[in-house]
Symmetry: C3
Subunit: 219 residues, 3 copies
C-alpha cells in the first residue's frame, strides 16, 4: 500500500513536471506565432523530452510514454489550452521562465530518483537529475531558435545541480521519496527564483567577451 502510494506520488509529480514544461514550450510557441500543430509538437517534445532521455540512458526503452500515452496527452492538452489562453498573460516570456523553473526543480529530483532506482552510483544519479531537468528546456529553445536559458546570465544549471545533489544525498541517507523531493524542489526553485527575480548570477568566467569568428562563412 505504501508502494502504491509512492507510485501514485511519483506519477503525479511526473505529470506536474511534464505539464509545466509543456506550458513553457507552448508559451515559446506563442512567442513564435506557431499554429496549433506546432504548439502540440513543441509542447510534447519539451514535456516528455527529459524523461525520454533519462529512460534511453538508463536502458529503460521502450520509453515511459509509449505504454502510458497520458503523458503526451497532457502535453497536447496543455498546448491546446495555452493556444487560446496565452494572450491572457501580460508577459508570456516571464510566464515561460517561471514554468520552466518549476519543471527544472521537479525534474532534478525525479531524474535522480530514476537513476538511483536503476542502481547507479551517486554521481551518475546527480548528473542524470541535471540532464533530465535541463534537456526539455534545451530542446525547446533550440527548436524555436531562442537563446537557451542555460546561456543566459542567471543561475540555471547550477540550481539543478544543487537540487539533484541534495536529493541524492538525502535519499542515500535514508530519506523518503516525498520529503526528499520537496526539499530538492525547494532548494532548486528558491535558487532559480532568486536569480530570476533579482537578476542574481554567479561569478562568470571572465569579462572578456568572445571575439567573433575570424572567417565566418557567408550565410
Amino acid at each position: 500500500m505504501i508502494l502504491a502510494d509512492l507510485g501514485t506520488v511519483i506519477f503525479w509529480l511526473e505529470i506536474l513536471g511534464v505539464a509545466v514544461f509543456a506550458a513553457s514550450a507552448a508559451l515559446t510557441a506563442a512567442r513564435k506565432q506557431m499554429d496549433l500543430g506546432g504548439f502540440a509538437l513543441i509542447a510534447t517534445v519539451t514535456g516528455i523530452g527529459g524523461g525520454t532521455v533519462r529512460d534511453l540512458l538508463t536502458g529503460a526503452a521502450p520509453v515511459f510514454w509509449i505504454a502510458q500515452p497520458v503523458y503526451p496527452l497532457v502535453c497536447i492538452g496543455t498546448a491546446v489550452i495555452l493556444f487560446f489562453a496565452a494572450p491572457l498573460f501580460e508577459s508570456r516570456y516571464k510566464a515561460l521562465v517561471w514554468a520552466d523553473a518549476a519543471g527544472l526543480a521537479l525534474f532534478c529530483a525525479t531524474g535522480a530518483e530514476a537513476a538511483l532506482k536503476a542502481g547507479t552510483p551517486a554521481i551518475a544519479a546527480i548528473i542524470m537529475g541535471v540532464i533530465s531537468a535541463t534537456f526539455g528546456g534545451i530542446v525547446r529553445d533550440v527548436l524555436s531558435g531562442e537563446i537557451p536559458l542555460i546561456l543566459r546570465k542567471e543561475i540555471y544549471a547550477t540550481a539543478a545541480a544543487a537540487g539533484a545533489t541534495l536529493y541524492t544525498v538525502l535519499r542515500i541517507h535514508g530519506a523518503d521519496l516525498l520529503p526528499a523531493t520537496i526539499a530538492a524542489f525547494a532548494l532548486c526553485f528558491v535558487i532559480r527564483s532568486f536569480s530570476i527575480a533579482y537578476g542574481v548570477s554567479l561569478p562568470v568566467y571572465d569579462k572578456r567577451p568572445a571575439r567573433d569568428y575570424p572567417d565566418r562563412p557567408a550565410n
Copy 2:
C-alpha cells in the same frame, strides 16, 4: 509470401523516404557551400535520423541501419549525386522543401506502423509517426543553422499529425499496410503541398510578435 511482399514494400518505402530526406539535406548543404564530407554527414544524419529515433524510443536498438548499411549508403550516394547535380536546380530551396514534404508524408506512415507493430496504443503510434516524420528535418535545419521548417508559416507538424492519425485509424480498423500508407501519404502530402504552393497557413496563435530578450547576453 504475403509477408515477404509486405516486407519488400516497407523496405522500398523506407529507402524512398530515406533518400528524399537525404536529398533535402544535400540541398541544404549546397546552400551552405559545404564540402563533400559535409554533404555526406548531413545527408546521412537527416536520412536515417527519424528511423533511428523511432528505433531508440521503441527499444529496438541496435538501430536498423547498423545491420543494414544499405540505408546510410543510400544517403551517401544521394549526397554524392547532388554534390554534382545541385547546380541544375533553378531553386535549391524549393527543391529541398518539396523533397522534405515527400519524406514527411512517407515517414508519418512508416513511423506509426513501427509503433503499432511494437504493440503501442493508438495515441503513441500517432505521436511516433509525427516524431519520425519531423525529426530528420529538424536535425538538418539545426545542424545547418537554417530556420526549422516547423517554425515557418506553412502547415507542417499539423500535416504530419493528420497523416499519422489517418494511418493509425485505418490500420486499427483493419486496412492493409499499402493502402493505408498511400492514403496517409496522400493526405499529408496534399495538405503540405497546398500550404507550400499557396502559402496557406492555419490560424496562428496571435499577431503580437515575440519581444526580444530584455537582457540578451552579449555574444
Copy 3:
C-alpha cells in the same frame, strides 16, 4: 593479460578523448561567459556525448558512464580547471579548435572500434566512427549558439571519415588496436591540422551562396 592491457589502453584513450572534448566545451563556455554550473554541464554533455550516442545506437544502454562515473567526473574536473585557467590562453578560440581536433581524431577510432566489437559491417563501423567523433562537438556548438565547426570552411567531417575508414580497414585486415588507433589518429589529425593551420578546404559545392528565405518569419 593482453586483454587487460588492451582494456587499459582503450580506457585511457577514452579518458583522453573525453577530456579534450570537455576542454573544448569549457573554452566555448568561457567565450560565452557562463558560470561554473554552465561550464560543468556543457563540458559533460560534450565530453560524454559522442560515446553516449554510440552506446545508444549499438544497443549498449545503460550507457558507459552510468556505471563508470569517472567519465563525467573527468569532464567536471576539466571544466573547473579551465574555469580558472582559460584566461591564460591567448586565443581561447584557437585552443578550442585544437582540442576539438584531438578529440575528433581519437573518437573516429574508438567509435569505429566499438561498432566493430558489436559485430557491425565495415560501413556501419565507419559511420559510427564519424558520428561518435562529430556528435560531441555538434552538441557543444548548438548549445552555445556557435556556428558548428562542420559548417566552417575547413575540412572536418571528411577528416573524421578518413580516420574512421583507415581504422576499420586496418582492423579488418588484422591490425592490432593500438597501432590502428595511432594510424587513424595521425591521419585524421594531420588532415584537420593542415586544414586549420593553412585554411585549406576541399572544393566546396559551388560559389553561389544561399539566398535568404523568401518569407522569413518575424522573430
